[in-house]
Every structure is written in structure tokens, then in C-alpha cells.
């Protein structure tokens, strides 16, 4: 009874959240099984159908070589989402490790790590990732790693705060008193307790990472031309801005929808729901 009623109720009470989850599920499906969602080839177009307006045949229109823009957006999902996932993972793992170390060791390790983290916050993320891309070289993976490193500071801060909060808990004291080693306490007690806020931050970073990865590939540091990727799709449509509005509008709209949905989901996970 309850199981049947829950989805319907959720739709009525939180339509925004349900829509957000639906968008994210659709994009995930596009990333893993693009062929299910479109029959057109993303790389080779039909020259006779070049620069067509959006229609029932071509939902998002076609580009200058007659490729279906919808198909390119769908096939671009896997690359864009993979880059996003790498970025968030790098930020999550590296940032959390730094925060854990700082919070757990305390003393000079804490001071040094948190000072470094402060500097990360003083350089705008997009510049920091541009510097990293300069050094690492171009390509979607390097862009993803750069965006990840540029966003690790927030994770370090949240993780450190959580460790400090949990560390003085009675249950940690009890575990130590009953002879559990620090590494055991860390894995058993500190990490699971700190996971909540860190994961909420990870969902929030998901949206930021989509934005920054697509911005860097818009600038031309990500995927190389024939490969579809959301940011570079928008860049590719720039030359046709006056004649073919659909070439930039729809890929950008996709990015905006994914970011909005990720942010909505993160707000729900954070408990800040109204």
C-alpha cells in the first residue's frame, strides 16, 4: 500500500525534486546506453540535411555537416559525465584525505594543511584549473583532474570540521578506551559519521564540476573536435550563432538542466528542503 502511494505522493509534494531525479536518470541512461535514446550517428552526418531547424525528425536540429544535434548531446553525455565523475572523485578523495589528516593529527600538520587549503580558496577555481591544465596538458581527463584539484579545498574543510566534531564524541572515547587502534576508530567511527555532510558537498560539487568542465572544453582545452562533448558542442555552434540558434541553445540547455537538477538533489540531501 505505502509502496504504491509513495512515488505518486512524492510527485505531488515535491515536483521539482522528482523532475530533477528524472533528468539525472535520463542523462545517466544517455551516458551508458545512448543507442536506446537516439538512432542517429553522432560523428557522421547526412550532408543533405545540414543546418535544419528543430523538427520531429531532428529534435535539436542539425549542424553544419548534417549531424543530429540531439544525437550529439546524447552521445556527449558519457564523456561529459565521466569527466564530471573524475573531477568529483579527485576532489572528494584528495580533499577528504587532507581534511582527515589535518583534523586527526592536529598540531603543525593541521596548521600547514589548512593554510595550503586557504590559498586554494584565494585563487578562483577556474584560474587554478587553467593553471593545472597548462601544466598537465589538454584533453578531457586532464581537464577533469584539474577541476577536481581546484575544488578540493571545500572537502578538506568540511572533512576536518567533521573529524573534529566526531573525535571528541563519547563513542570515540569509549572505542579508544576499549583498546581499538586509531586506524580502527577512523574507519569504524569517524568516517561513517563524517560521510553525510561530505556526500552532500559531493552532490553540490557535481553541479560545479559539470559547469567548470564544460567551460574548459568550451574554451577548447577538452575533447578534440569530432568527439561530442557538451562544452565543445556549444563552442562548435558559435560560428553559426546568427543562423542556427539551436546548435548552441540545446547543448547549453542540457548543461543547465543537469546542473539545476544536481543542485536540487544536493539541497534535498542536505536537508534544506521546504
Amino acid at each position: 500500500m505505502v509502496d504504491l502511494a509513495t512515488p505518486a505522493r512524492a510527485t505531488v509534494r515535491r515536483p521539482g525534486l522528482v523532475l530533477a531525479v528524472a533528468v539525472l536518470a535520463f542523462v545517466l541512461l544517455a551516458a551508458f546506453a545512448p543507442a536506446l535514446l537516439t538512432g542517429y550517428d553522432p560523428i557522421t552526418g547526412v550532408p543533405a540535411e545540414r543546418l535544419q531547424e528543430p523538427s520531429l525528425h531532428h529534435l535539436f536540429g542539425t549542424d553544419e555537416t548534417g549531424r543530429d544535434v540531439y544525437a550529439r548531446v546524447i552521445h556527449g553525455a558519457s564523456l561529459s559525465l565521466r569527466a564530471t565523475a573524475i573531477a568529483v572523485l579527485v576532489a572528494l578523495v584528495a580533499g577528504s584525505a587532507l581534511g582527515l589528516l589535518a583534523g586527526f593529527r592536529g598540531g603543525w600538520a593541521d596548521t600547514v594543511i589548512m593554510r595550503v587549503v586557504d590559498v586554494f580558496l584565494a585563487i578562483p577555481p577556474i584560474l587554478l584549473s587553467l593553471a593545472l591544465v597548462t601544466a598537465l596538458g589538454f584533453g578531457t581527463t586532464n581537464v577533469a583532474i584539474a577541476v577536481g584539484i581546484a575544488n578540493l579545498a571545500a572537502f578538506a574543510r568540511v572533512m576536518r570540521a567533521e573529524v573534529l566534531r566526531v573525535r571528541n564524541g563519547v563513542f570515540v572515547e569509549a572505542a579508544r578506551a576499549s583498546g581499538v587502534r586509531w586506524s580502527g576508530v577512523l574507519l569504524r567511527h569517524v568516517l561513517p559519521n563524517a560521510a553525510g555532510p561530505v556526500l552532500a558537498l559531493a552532490t553540490l560539487t557535481l553541479g560545479t564540476a559539470v559547469l567548470e568542465v564544460s567551460a574548459l572544453s568550451f574554451l577548447g582545452f577538452g575533447a578534440t573536435p569530432p568527439t561530442p562533448e557538451w562544452g565543445s558542442l556549444v563552442a562548435g555552434g558559435r560560428s553559426f550563432l546568427a543562423t542556427a540558434w539551436w546548435m548552441t541553445t540545446f547543448p547549453g540547455l542540457t548543461v543547465a538542466a543537469v546542473v539545476l537538477s544536481a543542485n536540487r538533489l544536493s539541497r534535498a540531501l542536505d536537508g534544506g528542503d521546504r
Binding site: D118, F218, L241, G252
Partner: protein, 318 residues
């Protein structure tokens, strides 16, 4: 007050030094190498001999051990010298500084727009009694922050330049050319300002003093504008100082979209050419902007809330 200022100033110097060091570590320690990239693609053809490579590396000071390089570069940076651009051979600092005026024109107008947009939506959103208007105004920032800036810029060009033919799509000349880039740049910054201000205004509304002011006969507008806004301004100012520093970085996107000259254009070109000295000069410049803005914010705090500049000892003395 003097100790407060001295401490803030010390922090500012530290951040600048740290930004220099961090960018040095990233740019000079990691494998990417502009010199070999240039020789491989440039006039020397694809067959640069090891001798040519060594000579070029010596020319750009890349042949000495890392700590020596670091100290040399730090000393030159203190004199405002970040080396010469590997791509063009010009002085990196000079390139960045001459590109600054058009960028500052856009960023300062963007800051004004950001404050108007963020402040306006938050203030009216918490002031209005209409539920629907409140919800619409308060959800504007979270919408604005989710839109990719490069896409917003292109949409604005499409609409205002190609459809309505009101404003120029591209270029650096004139006031009209500044408007669209400034709006593009202002949206994400204004969104953050709006979110923070709305949150602190809502918190202040619950405070007892707001009720007392209303009970003593102050109008709703007077309470909101005279009492709540002043108290809510402190956290907002902190965040505004931080996000305003992002405006210079954001011009990398807007200047590319609108084909404008400026620091952002230079940065994008420098990254493409792996032009390390220029990239480092831009990063230190961005850190400088960040630091200066935050110093200004630190100076404004005591005007809003005199308690902030006092040490605990002074507070105890009363």
C-alpha cells in the same frame, strides 16, 4: 584598530606569497614544458636539436635547480617581473597590465550589476508579503548559478544583437559593448550574494530586536531597511569580497564569448600556448585583486559593526 589592520595586512601578504608559490609549484614542477612545445611547433621546425633545446631552456631560466629557480623568480616577482612570454617574447607583467583596463571596465560594472541583482532579489524577496513573489525572487539566485556563463553570453548575443539588433555582439569599443559581458559576468556572482543576503535577512527577521523595533512603531520598511539590512550586511560583505575576486577569472569566459580584448583573452591564449610566465602573472594578479578586495571589506566591517575591530581585551575593558 591598528593591530586589527596589521594582522589583516600580514594575511594579505601571506596569501600573495602563497599564490605565487602554489602557481610556481603547479607550473614549473609538473611536466608540461612551453619551451619544448614551442620549439616543436615553432620556427625551429619539428627537429629541434638537444643543443637548441638547452639554449632555449637557459634563456628562460629553466636549467637551474628548482629551489634556485624558485628564489630567483620570487625575487623578480617582488619587483613585478614574471619573466618573458614564451609565445610572444614580451614582458609577461606588461602584457597583463596593459590588458587590464578593458577587463576592469567590465568587471566593475559586473560587480554593480551583481550587487543590484543579488541584493535586490534578496531584499525584495524577504520584504514582500506575497508568497508567490517571495518564492520567485528567492529562487532566482539558485537558477542563475546553474546556468553555464558561456551559454548565457551566447544567448544574450543571440537575443539582443541578432534578434533585436540593440547591442553590439562583439568588440571592445564603447559603453554598449560592455553591457552584455557585464550581465553575463554578474549572474553567478550576484547569485551567491543574493543567497547569502536572503539567508541572513531571514535569520535577522527572527531576532527579538526586529520585533521590538516594530512594537515601538517603526514601519515595516524602516525595520527591514534600517535594522535588518545593516545587520545582514556583514556576512554578505564577507562573501561578496570572496566572490568578487572570481570576476577577473570569469572574464576568461566572457572575453572569449564576446571576443573582447583583456586579461581573460590573454589567459586563454597563454593556456593554449602553455605560456607559463603569463599564466603565473595572471594568477598572482587574480590573487592581488582578491587580497585588495578583502582588505577593503575588512576596512568596511568596523563601519558596519564597531565590535569587529576590537580585540577581546578592549571588549572586556568596555
Amino acid at each position: 584598530m591598528r593591530r586589527y589592520l596589521l594582522r589583516r595586512f600580514g594575511q594579505a601578504v601571506f596569501v600573495l606569497w602563497a599564490a605565487f608559490t602554489l602557481s610556481f609549484l603547479i607550473l614549473y614542477l609538473l611536466p608540461g614544458d612551453a619551451v619544448s612545445a614551442k620549439l616543436a611547433s615553432g620556427e625551429a621546425g619539428s627537429s629541434a636539436t638537444p643543443e637548441q633545446l638547452a639554449a632555449a631552456r637557459a634563456e628562460y631560466g629553466l636549467d637551474s635547480p628548482l629551489p634556485v629557480q624558485y628564489l630567483k623568480r620570487l625575487v623578480s616577482a617582488l619587483h613585478g617581473d614574471f619573466g618573458r612570454s614564451v609565445a610572444t617574447g614580451d614582458d609577461a607583467t606588461h602584457m597583463v597590465v596593459t590588458a587590464l583596463p578593458p577587463t576592469l571596465a567590465v568587471t566593475s560594472l559586473a560587480l554593480v550589476f551583481a550587487v543590484l541583482f543579488g541584493g535586490g532579489s534578496a531584499f525584495l524577496g524577504t520584504y514582500t508579503r506575497f508568497r508567490w513573489l517571495r518564492q520567485a525572487l528567492l529562487s532566482l539566485p539558485s537558477l542563475a548559478i546553474s546556468l553555464p556563463p558561456f551559454w548565457v553570453g551566447l544567448l544574450l548575443i543571440q537575443f539582443f544583437s541578432f534578434r533585436l539588433r540593440l547591442l553590439p555582439a562583439l568588440g571592445t569599443q564603447g559603453f554598449a559593448a560592455v553591457l552584455l559581458p557585464a550581465i553575463t559576468l554578474a549572474l553567478p556572482t550576484g547569485a551567491i550574494i543574493g543567497q547569502v543576503l536572503a539567508k541572513s535577512l531571514a535569520t535577522q527577521q527572527e531576532e527579538p530586536y526586529a520585533e521590538i523595533a516594530a512594537a515601538k512603531g517603526a514601519s515595516r520598511w524602516r525595520v527591514h531597511f534600517g535594522h535588518l539590512l545593516r545587520n545582514a550586511a556583514v556576512p554578505t560583505l564577507t562573501v561578496a569580497g570572496v566572490v568578487a575576486g572570481n570576476l577577473v577569472a570569469g572574464s576568461v569566459i566572457t572575453e572569449t564569448v564576446f571576443s573582447r580584448d583583456g586579461v581573460g583573452r590573454i589567459t586563454a591564449a597563454a593556456v593554449t600556448a602553455q605560456d607559463v610566465p603569463v599564466v603565473q602573472a595572471v594568477i598572482v594578479l587574480a590573487a592581488l585583486v582578491f587580497v585588495v578586495l578583502n582588505l577593503v571589506v575588512d576596512l568596511l566591517y568596523p563601519l558596519l559593526d564597531p565590535r569587529i575591530a576590537r580585540t577581546p581585551a578592549e571588549v572586556a575593558r568596555g
